[in-house]
Symmetry: C2
Subunit: 340 residues, 2 copies
């Protein structure tokens, strides 16, 4: 299995690949400045397109790696022959990360540079190759696939392709595996639960009074997401108290897994204003009436979750509270959820 351990992951402070922990191996230097640094003459040389099996000499390899569009003179080639390598970062796992901002826009140049670079990385013993292609560079996607790349993940605006060089099984970390949702159990001192009917619910819960629920936003805390969803759907302001329980299910949206956190919230306001685009109706419902709906009685999972919420309301149960703590590795605050 592709694996990055928890403690390894703790160090990353920004987007993956972790730029902060990477050595920037090139900076779009021109061939002239490269050759000057190398002590050689300043030359103006044409490009050479090479095949995938091009045997790159050690000299070229050692000099070209940390250059953008590294135009490298081979000692076995006439001075008129030079090579283009793609601009990359290196990672600590013997991987290379191609810089999307420095990709050639010409399809031919891209293919040629990619082939040359792959040959070079193979000789260098590199393992994983990461190729991020922006939306506006989509014409390069079929070319990269033809050269043996596969999809790894995508987000609006880009697709990430990978290539695993070694003969051994691929060890690249997998894409995100889970969606995370929150449900808000909001109950008054008079045992009234905040419930909603969804406007467009195609499933079997249609017509049921249910808890406000939704996915958390990107980089949002669980408790923030629960408070926000309740506020968006019903207009009710709340404070977060505890994560009462969570459910882990598989093969849900996009064949991914799903974690749903049931959160106990304390109401701070009581006048309901529904989000009409999403919610058909919302109200404060007596607890007994809410739990008495056949929908809850007939579903083991929801019945148990609701019983725990009630137990917490009656101070017979403790869920997980949120602790904001700093971690040494990234120096950043994050939340640990536990009973104490």
């Amino acid at each position: 299995m592709a694996k990055v351990t928890a403690t390894m992951r703790l160090q990353f402070t920004g987007p993956w690949p972790p730029q902060s922990s990477l050595e920037r191996r090139s900076s779009c230097d021109s061939i002239n400045s490269f050759l000057n640094v190398a002590g050689g003459p300043v030359l103006s040389l044409p490009h050479l397109e090479v095949s995938n099996s091009f045997p790159m000499p050690a000299y070229a390899m050692s000099r070209s790696f940390n250059r953008k569009g590294a135009n490298v003179i081979s000692p076995h080639s006439p001075a008129s022959m030079i090579l283009d390598l793609l601009d990359v970062y290196e990672d600590e796992y013997d991987g290379v990360i191609i810089d999307p901002e420095c990709l050639p826009s010409s399809t031919n140049a891209f293919v040629a540079n990619l082939r040359t670079s792959l040959s070079y990385w193979k000789l260098k013993g590199k393992k994983g190759v990461w190729l991020k292609i922006l939306l506006e560079q989509a014409h390069l996607v079929p070319m990269a696939i033809k050269e043996g790349f596969n999809y790894h993940h995508a987000e609006p605006g880009y697709v990430m392709l990978t290539y695993w060089i070694p003969k051994e099984p691929c060890m690249l970390p997998a894409n995100a595996s889970h969606q995370v949702g929150v449900g808000g159990f909001v109950i008054t001192e008079k045992s009234e639960v905040l419930v909603v009917k969804e406007r467009k619910c195609p499933c079997r819960c249609s017509g049921i009074w249910k808890l406000p629920t939704g996915f958390i936003d990107k980089s949002e805390e669980l408790f923030t997401g629960a408070i926000r969803e309740v506020k968006e759907e019903t207009g009710i302001e709340t404070d977060f108290l505890e994560v009462i329980a969570f459910r882990h299910a598989h093969c849900v949206a996009f064949d991914k897994s799903d974690l749903l956190f049931f959160c106990m919230l304390k109401p701070l306001s009581f006048d309901i204003t529904i989000d009409e685009a999403e919610i058909e109706d919302a109200k404060w419902m007596p607890l007994d009436e809410f739990l008495g709906q056949p929908y809850y009685q007939e579903d083991q999972m929801l019945k148990k979750a609701m019983e725990l919420c009630v137990a917490r309301y009656e101070n017979r149960y403790s869920g997980f509270i949120a602790h904001q703590l700093i971690s040494k590795f990234d120096g950043r605050l994050s939340y640990l959820y536990s009973t104490d």
Copy 2:
């Protein structure tokens, strides 16, 4: 925010889009069988490529939607003009899901059919369009992007593109947002903790004795993942006891969020066999020595998590246990984690 509520999600029993809840709207019928069903003559007609703004008549719309490559005769067109629509499923959110297995392989036909279909779906008041393109169809990706599609997500073997038709903000559900990891706290009756040193740890925990950790596999339970990781790294067999705590961090791998579950496990064997590819060393370490490492003392987050593990070991703390429960909606078992 794009939103699918928890109860809605409960119904899905397979890969998303949920095939079980979708009406298969076409089945690669030929034009001849379609025209026969429609009571019309069996015709052999050439294709017509139409522009994005083609005003498709209601007749054509009503007849063509549930046909693959629906060659539809417009009442306003001569008999020689027919249209190709892409083969789709419908979803309950006024969305359409293009069948990747029925995409034309020719780029020209694909573009023509896509444009025709988009015009048609716009007239029908459709909202989101889902276009899954398989690895071997990569030549179609730039064409779809040119027509206004964007990346949604990708996995090895395919990329999913989307197109949001309405003028209002996009309501399509987002891609998976989280990685999920597990750490195994395995402790003997003699207060010895199972610890590992990772072979290739580029971060600040290098050289530290730490808990076995890793990502859970696709569709794997948390407790199964914790047991597997411990077994893989150290050869030790264990039973799962509790989720002691979990940490929620953001902007980790691929800019996604991360949930790390600290799990208490009971050892069932004691002879260590390390996974040499990943682990440099593993051993049973006295608890005091383990906790005394500066690495743990200087990290608020890990210190707290380890203190909770010790409290559980000393029966001063209760984490979440796993309940296997069936849900009415999908009729499937999943796990609810809670204190009771």
